[in-house]
Amino acid sequence: MHELSLAQGIVELAVEAAQKAKADRVVRVHLKVGRLAGVDPGALLFCYDESTAGTILAGSSLVIIDVPLVVWCAHCLKEVELASVQRFHCPTCDTPCGEIRTGRELEIASLEVAA
């Protein structure tokens, strides 16, 4: 359960970005979470309210944007989306594909701020 550390990381980063943008308050945080990021969105949302209390993020909402697991297929010569994080094989030709293009993200895409 490292979601509390992650929630604190979100607050730290968001406060820094909001201050830089001269905003008084953060209303919404858009967070990209890759399918292979190893994060439980439920636990993260649970920790979010506690971590934002008393900060300029208090009362804001966390919007999680799911990022699919996309790998490079060296046989099809294209990026393919995998339906499962348990099977790194091209859905078209079944070639093992280990080169990850997206799916590990754990990043704040944007903030919605007031003033």
Partner: protein, 233 residues
């Protein structure tokens, strides 16, 4: 009504850890110490395996040291110290993983340039340590034959993030009716092409292959050491 506006951020929430890890990686490269991060679930045999590894390295005159993470006790450090290698315990006090930030003060106590290998035994946990880069050159995920062949499928993020998988307690394989093919298939399903070693710490089988792997990884990594500065992102 309050008007709102959008501020683009595009920054990873593990940025701080990633930056510190990059600093550590640069330090390890400058000092020429190959750093290995051992991860597994509790009870898969990390400490026993590391104790044997350290004893054999020390016996062969190779300079190796270990940092060991644990929630509360220093039992593992005491066990590892029997090898004769320098060992430091990091107590995380409830934290389920090691972070790059926790390592600095322990490393300062050592002359890293005098070491060939540094082993970091992570907190026994197959979830959280996957997200925290410690600046290691090699991440080794361990799995014992008593745990079930499908463990990599249950913890794909961790096994995918590792460079090498080691199956431990092979001396118990028969008693556990361990399905070797199924375990290898599960590992390669989440990490195609991964190097897999099988060891019995108790009997010593597979240890020579492990030492060969360490030597090879260090040899192919060593030329980059001369470059000095760690590469930028």
């Amino acid at each position: 009504m309050t008007t709102t506006r959008i501020v683009e951020v595009r920054a990873g929430i593990l940025k701080k850890n990633d930056e510190l890890a990059r600093g550590l990686r640069g330090r390890f490269e400058r000092d020429g110490v190959l750093t290995v991060n051992l991860v597994s679930s509790p009870g898969s045999g990390k400490t026993a395996f590391l104790e044997r590894t350290l004893s054999e390295l020390v016996g062969a005159g190779v300079k190796a040291a270990a940092l060991v993470g644990d929630l509360e006790t220093d039992n593992d450090a005491q066990r590892l110290a029997r090898s004769g290698a320098p060992v430091r315990q990091i107590n995380t006090h409830g934290r389920c993983h090691l972070e790059a930030e926790m390592l600095g003060s322990y490393l300062d106590a050592w002359d890293l340039a005098a070491l060939d290998y540094l082993f970091i035994e992570n907190v026994g946990n197959l979830v959280c340590p996957a997200s925290y880069d410690l600046g290691e050159a090699l991440r080794v995920a361990m799995l014992s034959v008593t745990e079930g062949e499908d463990k990599p499928l249950k913890y794909p993020t961790m096994f995918n993030s590792a460079d090498v998988a080691i199956i431990t307690k092979m001396d118990l394989a028969e008693a556990c009716e361990f399905d070797r093919e199924a375990a290898h298939a599960a590992i390669r399903s989440v990490r195609p092409g991964m190097t897999i070693l099988e060891v019995s710490t108790k009997r010593g089988t597979g240890m020579e292959t492990w030492h060969t792997l360490l030597r090879e990884r260090r040899a192919e990594w060593a030329p980059r050491v001369a470059g000095g500065e760690a590469s930028a992102r």
